[in-house]
Amino acid sequence: MPKRKLDPLPSAAFQILLSLAGEDLHGYGIMRQVAEQTGGRMRLGPGTLYSSIQSLLEENFIEEVEARQDVRLGHERRRYYRLTSAGRKLARSEADRLAGWLRVARAKKILRGDYV
């Protein structure tokens, strides 16, 4: 299978890692979580969502756990994904990297203090 480059980490992949930080989620759950945590700015379409999931699975940043129903959404069995420790580490380093840029931005007085 083709390898996808996760370096630099695409923002969709980063958001997926973040969405899984709290709990295991299925695809639609991830999509809604990402929409929520980005204030509705990022609505992952199925193609982008699953190709990102595929890349993250290949690199063992997330893993698939046992499929099960989501009673709120009906009786269909759904594939659930869980963040691995490598994924958590990757998300942390990405957040650190962004935080570094944020510091730069703040030092350049592009950002005002009340944002972060």
Partner: protein, 483 residues
């Protein structure tokens, strides 16, 4: 409905992606569609989906390609050639189906190409014996004298397979259509080349040197006057040159022809296999002596669908004529006969005379061979009434048989006017698309100034081809009663 549309759109993704996540993607679509109802949410959903497709489909394919290139690069340097499989699953049944269809199409295209290229192979040398100018060939449809001769020219070039000799007009029709399309655009250089070629060929080959000189001068004069400059269409240009040549020569057999498909450089000699195949085909078809029987009132009936090569079919022909020997009248049914070998035409005609008879063939120089080999020993048909059944398909050699017997008042023709093919010129190639018919021989027509070329042979008794046999039988019967 909208789910079906999205399912179709999902087919844009590579199969490995569809297999892994197609169902999940559809599920996600259903979830969103269920949760986002109303006009604007639905609109937003579709905008999201389309935007997502636009971004993610190319990315999926790009990744596949990159992975393949990376995988193959290191292995290609040495060792035997190898194939790289794009997908790690088996191809779908549909892929086999389309692969099969594509292969068939490619094969069909290839064989059509071959047929087209090979269709000018030299039947002339196969079927005409000693003379290039003596092979009768089938043609198609009623046409102007020009068109008819032109077709004949092409046909004489094109028939290469023994089965083609079975007088199927389809192949000729196809050639005709190709040429009639005449899509080629001419430029000044091409016109020059054709005119030069025409002049050179006429000077060398035309039967009358003085006329040849006049034709050459006329062509050159027209060229200098700029009369040809307007012609950019191959067919129209050939027509124009034909008119220019005929204006001075008054010879309807002198002509320029244009072929949209390429005219090959040389006529290939028939291979032993082709000759063997011809013999085989003739054997199977009883040399096209389709029906031979004695009708009531002892009227002999022979349905002959061609005039086959005597070197193959002479014994069949003599046997057929021998079995008619005691008939009181003979009906030759040539309604499906589209020609063949002049020697066979003359061979059969010989039975109908008790003395050598001048046997006119517009494509052969008048020689000793131009008389029938009559009388045939033991033959009793020389003074029996003869009827020839004709149709609009009766062509070429069959027309010669009908025409000569009619002119000699030796037979009564019953049926329809024949098709009208008496190509008297020999074809000379000028270039890939142009060639010309040039009469190289002087045949003496003792009957008339014009033969049946382009106009056909008129029957003595005009009836529909389907009714011709019945009409001829009645004629024969009443004729026999009088005796």
């Amino acid at each position: 409905m909208s789910e079906k549309i999205y399912a179709l759109l999902l087919r844009l993704y590579p199969s490995h992606f569809r297999d892994a996540y197609g169902e999940a993607a559809l599920q996600l679509f259903r979830d969103r569609a269920r949760d986002e109802k109303g006009f604007f949410p639905t609109l937003r959903l579709w905008l999201d989906l389309l935007g997502d497709l636009a971004v993610s489909v190319p990315r999926e394919y790009r990744h596949v390609h990159a992975a393949l290139l990376a995988a193959s690069a290191s292995q290609r340097l040495g060792g035997p050639p190898s194939f790289f499989v794009l997908e790690d699953e088996s191809p779908r049944p549909g892929a086999f189906f389309f692969g099969g269809v594509l292969t068939l199409l490619a094969l069909a295209g290839f064989s059509m190409g071959i047929n087209q290229a090979g269709s000018y192979a030299g039947n002339v040398t196969i079927w005409s014996g000693e003379s290039r100018a003596t092979s009768w060939r089938p043609s198609v449809a009623k046409a102007s004298p020009f068109e008819s001769r032109w077709r004949s020219m092409l046909e004489r070039l094109r028939i290469s397979q023994p089965r083609a000799w079975q007088m199927k007009p389809v192949a000729a029709d196809r050639a005709m259509k190709g040429a009639a399309g005449a899509a080629m655009k001419l430029d000044a250089a091409e016109r020059q080349l054709v005119i030069d070629g025409a002049i050179a060929n006429v000077k060398v080959h035309y039967v009358d040197r003085d006329v040849a000189q006049k034709v050459a001068q006329a062509l050159r004069a027209h060229e200098k006057n700029g009369d040809d400059n307007a012609a950019t269409d191959g067919g129209a240009f050939a027509d124009l040159l034909t008119r220019q040549m005929r204006d001075v020569s008054h010879d309807m057999h002198l002509m320029m022809v244009y072929s949209e498909s390429k005219i090959p450089d040389r006529r290939p000699e028939p291979t032993p296999e082709e000759l063997a195949a011809y013999r085989n085909a003739m054997k199977q078809d009883n040399c096209t002596f389709e029906t031979l029987k004695i009708l009531p009132h002892n009227i002999g009936y022979l349905k002959l669908n061609s005039f086959p090569d005597p070197s193959v079919c002479q014994s069949t022909a003599t046997a057929a004529m021998a079995s008619l020997n005691h008939a009181d009248a003979v009906i030759f049914d040539l309604r499906d006969n589209r020609g063949g070998h002049p020697k066979m035409v003359a061979l059969i005609a010989a039975y109908l005379f008790d003395h050598p008879e001048y046997w006119y063939n517009p494509r052969e120089e008048t020689t000793r061979q131009s008389w029938t080999a009559s009388p045939v020993p033991g033959n009793k048909l020389a003074d029996k009434p003869v009827y020839v059944l004709t149709s609009g398909s009766t062509f070429s050699g069959a027309e010669q048989f009908s025409y000569d017997l009619k002119m000699l008042k030796r037979a009564t023709l019953v049926g329809e006017t024949t098709r009208g093919g008496a190509h008297a010129g020999v074809f000379h190639r000028i270039d890939e698309h142009f060639g010309m018919g040039i009469p190289e021989v002087q045949a003496i027509n003792p009957f008339s100034t014009a033969d049946w070329a382009g106009v056909g042979v008129e029957p003595d008794v005009k009836v529909k081809a389907a009714d011709a046999l019945e009409a001829a039988q009645k004629l024969a019967e009443s004729n026999l009663r009088k005796k």
